[in-house]
Symmetry: D2
C-alpha cells in the first residue's frame, strides 16, 4: 500500500487544475491535510473579488487528498460551501481539511479556509464514496 505522500504526489502529477491554482500541500496525514494557494488576478470575478469557484476548488482538492490518502480511490458525491468573507487578489488562502466520519463506503470531511489575517473565509462539507479500487 502506498503512503499518503506517495498517493497525493501521484494525484498532483495528473491534477493540472490544482497546479493551475498554485496549490501547495503543507501537511498531509490519513484523513487530514492542509493546503495553501495565493489568489491571482485571473481568479477574480465580476465583483473584483475571488470567484466562488476558487475557494470551492481549493476545498475540493483538500477533500480529494485527505479522503484518498488511505489508499482506496474516493470520488466526491455531494459538497456544499458557505462563502463567509470576500477574498481579494494577493490573499493567501490556507485550507484545513478534517475527517468527520469514515464508514465502509462513505466518508465525510469539512474544509475551513482562512486568509492571511486568520479570518475564516469559507466553510465546506464534502461527502465521498469510497471505492474498492486501490491507488
Amino acid at each position: 500500500m502506498k503512503t499518503p505522500k506517495e498517493i497525493v504526489n501521484l494525484m498532483m502529477e495528473g491534477d493540472a487544475f490544482s497546479r493551475w491554482l498554485g496549490i501547495s500541500v503543507d501537511k498531509l496525514d490519513k484523513g487530514h491535510c492542509t493546503l495553501s494557494c495565493t489568489v491571482r488576478a485571473e481568479m477574480l470575478n465580476g465583483h473584483h473579488i475571488a470567484h466562488g469557484g476558487i475557494s470551492y476548488s481549493l476545498s475540493d482538492s483538500a477533500l480529494a487528498f485527505a479522503s484518498n490518502s488511505y489508499g482506496n480511490k474516493c470520488v466526491s458525491i455531494e459538497t456544499s460551501i458557505s462563502h463567509l468573507l470576500p477574498v481579494k487578489e494577493g490573499d493567501i488562502l490556507t485550507a484545513f481539511c478534517d475527517e468527520i466520519h469514515r464508514g465502509k463506503t462513505v466518508a465525510i470531511y469539512t474544509v475551513n479556509i482562512f486568509n492571511q489575517r486568520e479570518e475564516k473565509i469559507s466553510m465546506f462539507k464534502g461527502t465521498v464514496n469510497i471505492s474498492r479500487e486501490i491507488w
Copy 2:
C-alpha cells in the same frame, strides 16, 4: 436601470476567471441563464476527469449572472453541488440556471449541467443575498 445583457457584459468584463473557463452566455433573462464551456486538459484532476471545481465554477457563474440580472448586486452565501457523472476532456458542458424563489433579501436558484450527450452531470443549488446596491 441596466438591462440583463448590459449587467452581464459588465460582470464578464471584470470576470477573469469565467473568461479563463471559456464561458459563453447562450441565453439570459431576469432570473435565468444558459451558459456553456468546453473542458480543457488544464481543467482535469488526479483521476483524469474534470476537477469538481470546474462544474462548480460554471454553476456559480450561472448563479451570479441569473441573480444579478434584475439590477441589484447579489452575492452567493450558500451553495451545494452533487457530482453525478464524470466529465472528460473535450466534453461540452451546458448549464441551465433557474430561479426557485426570489424574496426581498434572499433568492434561490438551481443549476443543472448537461454534457453533449444530454446526460446530467451535476446538480447545484445556490442561495444569494440581494443587496440594495445597483449595477
Copy 3:
C-alpha cells in the same frame, strides 16, 4: 423481491414518526413517490408557523420510500432543505419525490413540497447509500 407497495407498507408499519405526522402515501413507484399530510397545532414553532422539522421530516420520509422501493435497503447520508414560504396550521402539504441519479452504491433524490394553493414551500435534496441488504 417485494413490490414497492409491499416494501412501503412494511416500512410504514414500523415508522411510528411518519404515522404521527399523519403521512398518506398518494402515489408510489420505483424511485418516485407522492406523500401528503396536514399541519396540526402540535407541529408549530415559536414563530407560530410549522417547525422546519415538519417539512424536513415529510421530505425525508419521501426520500426513504422512493429510494427503498427497488428492494435494497437505503439509508440517508446527506440531506439539505431550503425553506421557501411559511407554513400554517391547517395547511395541506404534498411532497413530490423524484430520482435524479441512481448508481451502484449511491442515489440522489429531490423532494419539492407544495401547499394547497400550489405554492412551493420547500425544496429538499437527499443522498442515500444503497446497501446490499434486501427488504
Copy 4:
C-alpha cells in the same frame, strides 16, 4: 431588549413541536446553545432507528434559539444535515449549536449532535435571514 433567556422562553411557549420533542435548554448564550432530548418509540422510522427528522428538528430548534437570542427575529433559509450514526430508542441526544458567522442580514451556524456515549451522530449547518423585527 429582552435577554437570550427571555427570548427563548417566549419561543418555547409557542413552540409546540419542540415541546413534543421533549427538548430541554441546557445552556444558552448569544449565538450559542446546548439542547438535549431523549428518543421515544414514536420517533422511530421503518428501520427501527430514529427518523432523520428527529435529529434535524433538534438541530433546527438549536439554530432558532441560538440565532434569535440577540433580539432580532431570524428565520432559517437553508439547512443541511449529515446523518453519521443510527440513533436508537432511549438514546439521549445533546445538540451543541455554534455561530460560524454573523453578518448584517445573514448568519451561519453549525449543530453537532452527540449520543450518551459521546459519539457524534449528526452534523448540521444552517443559514438564517436576520430580520429587523425585534422579539
